[in-house]
């Protein structure tokens, strides 16, 4: 079990979230997940397991996908955090991955989909033409309990083509 700082003073953590500078007064050990949800009111990032096992909380820190439920805010200090709310262009045009998600009617309950989409966007940034095996490797950390894996795979390929 990890040991907690029991009486640590809250400090101000400075970072950028979806392009906007933020100063959050908080225990810097607080996971990014809870800071963006509770402090910033960005509820699109979801709590699934609290242990980096399901991927529902995936966000980007400086473009890298991380599980925000186990990433302390201190690790994001001075960095750029992107959540699902920050993916669309400023004019509201959805990211190619989001558009592909709609085209393939991917979500069912939808709870895991913010995390799925953030993982897929990160994959396509690294690899613009992923094979089935590449997709399996990049997406295996994201559980979809509604089992929409066939559609997720198809949507990633569509997004790769149209990006």
């Amino acid at each position: 079990m990890r040991s907690y700082a029991t009486a640590e003073e809250a400090t101000v953590v400075q970072l950028t979230v979806n392009g906007k500078a933020q100063n959050i007064e908080i225990d810097p050990e607080t996971p990014v997940l809870w800071a963006v949800r509770e402090q910033l009111g960005l509820n699109g990032t979801k709590f699934g397991c609290g242990a980096s096992l399901c991927g529902a909380c995936t966000v980007h820190i400086d473009g890298e996908p991380v599980r925000s439920c186990v990433t302390p805010l201190s690790e994001a200090e001075g960095k750029e955090v992107t959540t699902i709310e920050g993916l669309a262009a400023p004019d509201g045009t959805l990211h190619a991955v989001q558009q592909a998600w709609i085209k393939h009617q991917v979500p069912q309950c939808g709870y895991c989909q913010s995390g799925q989409i953030m993982s897929a966007v990160a994959l396509l940034q690294e690899n613009s033409d992923p094979s089935d095996a590449d997709i399996d490797a990049a997406m295996a950390g994201n559980v979809c309990r509604c089992g929409m894996y066939t559609r997720i795979k198809a949507a990633i390929k569509t997004a790769a083509k149209e990006a």
Partner: protein, 754 residues
């Protein structure tokens, strides 16, 4: 590119989302009280078959704003001619808001593109008594002549059962066909009649299309006739369209809930925002039924952000400024639980108890035809097998959570729930207040699968919020969500068949423990003249609840494994063997043949691969699945699933396919990995590392073919699940010669990779 239809769906979803959003602020409760006074005068009417008569006046106060007219209890028309469908079911990804509103629009001739959707408030008038009716009457078709009687009866019966449940794959089958379509048709007829009066022309010269009424070249929006329509008596049995006349139904309409689920704006229960809200989390007794014996909270209370810690009897609750702070503090709470006999319960004692119940306990016969005893005596040979399945958790992606605010003898609850009305009733009882003073605000569910029909988590939120004196968002950890579920039961089933000289069964007897719903889950559709299915009660302290497809999960596995064993015993191909026993069942045969053809049943496969087949009928939908497994890696890897399904008609074909895909993966997770075990009375598993899920890298390719028949519309959410486990087990047998009589497959050793 996003199409026009998708943009419209996005707009519709935004509106639906906004209407949820509106409920989340404190001010809106006050607003809701004020709206009551503003409700449209003369708001009507309509009983139609499912909603007898005169309740609409009462309901108008609940769902109308300003000058909107409540035309039926399931639809309202605003002055700007927007038609709003009022949906009495929760959205958990099954696309029900889309399907049900399309069913209403189809019969009403409403303009789908301009339609809005709202979820029915948790009021008794919206009780989903159709589900209750099914429980009372089984799945027998009720003759039309009895409809009024049955509905009148069931309204009373189901109201007393507090039903507003989303489950049993009933939404489209019953609410859709029985309520939404009838309401739509009745509303259309009312509007036409009103137009006939207003324009003084015969009704036969009028037609409705896209929310307008036409008389020759003259046209006017529905809204112009709403006021007169409100004064007319609705037709109890409006004329419904033929399937061949459908314009919307049978089309793959984009789901209205999807756009908000890709841009992060969808509001789930966990996203509730209430002014002044604190966060709570809990630890319940690991052995169900026990309670707090000793509690030391001094270390935990000194943790930063902690507001208070409560001994709640059978659980401990921490309330803090944030969830993470509450969770940290909970880890420092020292608690001892009471002890009891149940501390000694484990897997072995549970199955020993089941075996004893089967051997010596009192049996209740569920299905009986012919004379099994006599047929067994005269059989050429007998065949027996015993099967086991474990407890299963639901593992919804969204951990259990609810937000509650209790003050001044009133309680507001925000939650994703399959059972809003039950939530209201249970909360009222717990807080000892009148149900009128409990308001349930529903939101999207991050998975339900039956779990969110049990309102224990909402009840805890109400209890903790009452103690805290402030609004509390109570969130269970994943560990708590896994260990405090209401599980699919573990089951022991014994099967016996009497065979003729060819090896075909002439009698079939099953004896098993547990019976939940539906009762026909253990019935046999094969042509076997002598059948007896019976069960024995064998309760333990482990809590049980409905799990996607309920009793069909275990019985699908048992029945289709046993049939496969009989085929092997008769030295026949599993597909051909089933065909022989389905000669009098053309629908089943067609489904079976289709799945076999899709998969190329019998084709040559690479070494280590094999196919398995199964067919089940659940919730009036027949599904056959053929899986291809690869055993060359040691354990089973499912490469492909061919799924053929006859639900009579698929209202939204793409949505139906998605439900089959989903049901298959859900059932495959259970078949491959799913196992909740009990040690020292407590659940051993806790999170996704020890309760594994099928993931992208082990998900098979799935093809679904929909078969349309003239049968009544069947369910979609659950029927894809039951056939998958036996299809996989049958394929594994064919590949390895090892018969799997106990799930999951992960507990079996298949040796090293070849």
């Amino acid at each position: 590119m996003v199409t026009r239809a998708e943009k419209k769906a996005a707009k519709k979803a935004r509106r639906a989302n906004e209407s949820f959003g509106r409920k989340w602020t404190r001010r809106s409760f006050i607003g809701a009280g004020a709206v009551a006074g503003l409700a449209a005068s003369g708001a009507l009417v309509v009983g139609i078959a499912i909603r007898p008569g005169d309740r609409t006046d009462e309901l108008a106060d609940l769902v109308t704003e300003g000058a909107e007219q409540l035309v039926t209890t399931w639809v309202k028309i605003a002055p700007d001619n927007t038609v709003t469908a009022i949906i009495p079911h929760g959205e958990m990804g099954q696309g029900i808001h889309t399907a049900l509103s399309a069913m209403l629009a189809e019969e009403m001739e409403a303009d789908w593109d301009a339609m809005e959707i709202m979820e029915a408030p948790a009021e008794k008038e919206f009780a989903n008594f159709e589900l209750g009716r099914e429980f009372f009457f089984g799945q027998s078709n009720i003759p039309n002549a009895l409809f009024d009687t049955v509905n009148g009866l069931m309204l009373t019966a189901a109201k007393s059962m507090d039903l507003q449940i989303t489950g049993g794959s009933t939404s489209v089958r019953f609410t859709g066909v029985g309520a939404m379509m009838t309401a739509g048709a009745a509303a259309r007829e009312l509007l036409l009649e009103a137009a006939s009066k207003q324009w003084d022309v015969p009704i036969s010269e009028l037609r409705a299309e896209k929310s307008y009424i036409y008389h020759g070249a003259r046209k006017a929006p529905f809204a112009e006739f709403a006021e007169v329509a409100a004064t007319l008596k609705p037709n109890l049995r409006p004329e419904l369209k033929k399937r061949s006349e459908y314009k919307l139904l049978g089309q793959s309409l984009p789901r209205v809930d999807i756009p908000s689920k890709v841009d992060g704006t969808a509001i789930f229960g966990i996203d509730a925002q209430v002014e002044g809200m604190k966060y709570g989390t809990v630890m319940a007794a690991p052995v169900h039924g026990q309670s707090v014996a000793k509690l030391n909270t001094s270390d935990a209370k000194s943790m930063p952000g902690v507001v208070d810690i409560f001994n709640m009897g059978d659980y401990v609750a921490v309330v803090a400024d944030g969830y993470w702070q509450a969770k940290q503090a909970l880890d420092y709470v020292e608690v001892e639980w009471t002890s009891a006999e149940t501390d000694n319960v484990n897997e072995e004692t549970i199955f020993a108890q089941y075996a004893k119940a089967i051997e010596t306990g009192k049996k209740t016969v569920l299905h009986k035809s012919g004379n099994v005893g006599k047929a067994m005596e005269s059989a050429a040979s007998l065949f027996e097998a015993e099967y086991r399945v474990p407890y299963l958790a639901h593992a919804c992606m969204e951990p259990m959570n609810a937000t509650a605010w209790v003050r001044d003898g009133k309680c507001d609850i925000w939650a994703g729930t399959q059972n809003p009305l039950g939530t209201r009733m249970v909360t009222a009882k717990t807080l000892e207040i009148d149900p009128e003073n409990v308001t349930v605000h529903t939101a999207f569910m991050g998975g339900g699968f039956g779990r969110r029909a049990t309102p224990d988590y909402t009840n805890q939120a109400a209890q903790v919020a009452a103690k805290a004196g402030v609004p509390v968002k109570l969130i269970w950890s994943r560990e708590e969500t896994t260990q405090q579920d209401h599980y699919r039961p573990s089951v022991l089933g014994r099967f016996r068949a009497g065979l003729d000289a060819e090896g075909l069964p002439t009698s079939w007897e099953s004896t098993f423990v547990h019976k939940m719903d539906p009762p026909e889950a253990s019935a046999i559709f094969y042509d076997i003249p002598n059948v007896k299915a019976q069960y024995a009660e064998s309760p333990t302290h482990v809590r049980l609840g409905p799990w996607r497809s309920v009793d069909h999960t275990q019985h699908g596995y048992f029945t289709e494994s046993f049939i496969d064993e009989l085929a092997v015993n008769a030295d026949m191909d599993g597909y051909e063997f089933r065909r022989k026993l389905l000669k009098s069942k053309p629908r089943h045969l067609k489904v079976l043949d289709t799945a076999a053809k899709m998969a190329g049943w019998g084709k040559n496969l690479p070494a280590g691969q094999a196919q398995g087949i199964s067919i089940t009928e659940s919730f009036m939908t027949i599904v056959a699945e053929v899986v291809t497994v690869d055993m060359s890696g040691g354990g089973p890897r499912v490469l492909h699933v061919a799924c053929a399904a006859d639900a009579g008609m698929a209202i939204n074909p793409d949505g139906f396919k998605a439900q089959m895909e989903s049901g298959i993966i859900y059932g495959l997770t259970a078949a491959l990995y799913g196992e909740i075990t009990i040690a020292d009375g407590a659940v051993e598993q806790s999170n996704f590392h020890d309760y594994s899920m099928v993931r992208m890298d082990d998900a098979p390719k799935i093809d679904v073919e929909i078969i349309s028949s003239d049968a009544s519309i069947g369910g979609a959410g659950e029927p894809g699940t039951p056939p998958i486990a036996p299809a996989v087990a049958n394929a594994v047998f064919k590949a390895t010669g090892k018969r799997i009589r106990q799930l999951p497959l992960s507990r079996h050793d298949f040796g090293a990779a070849t």
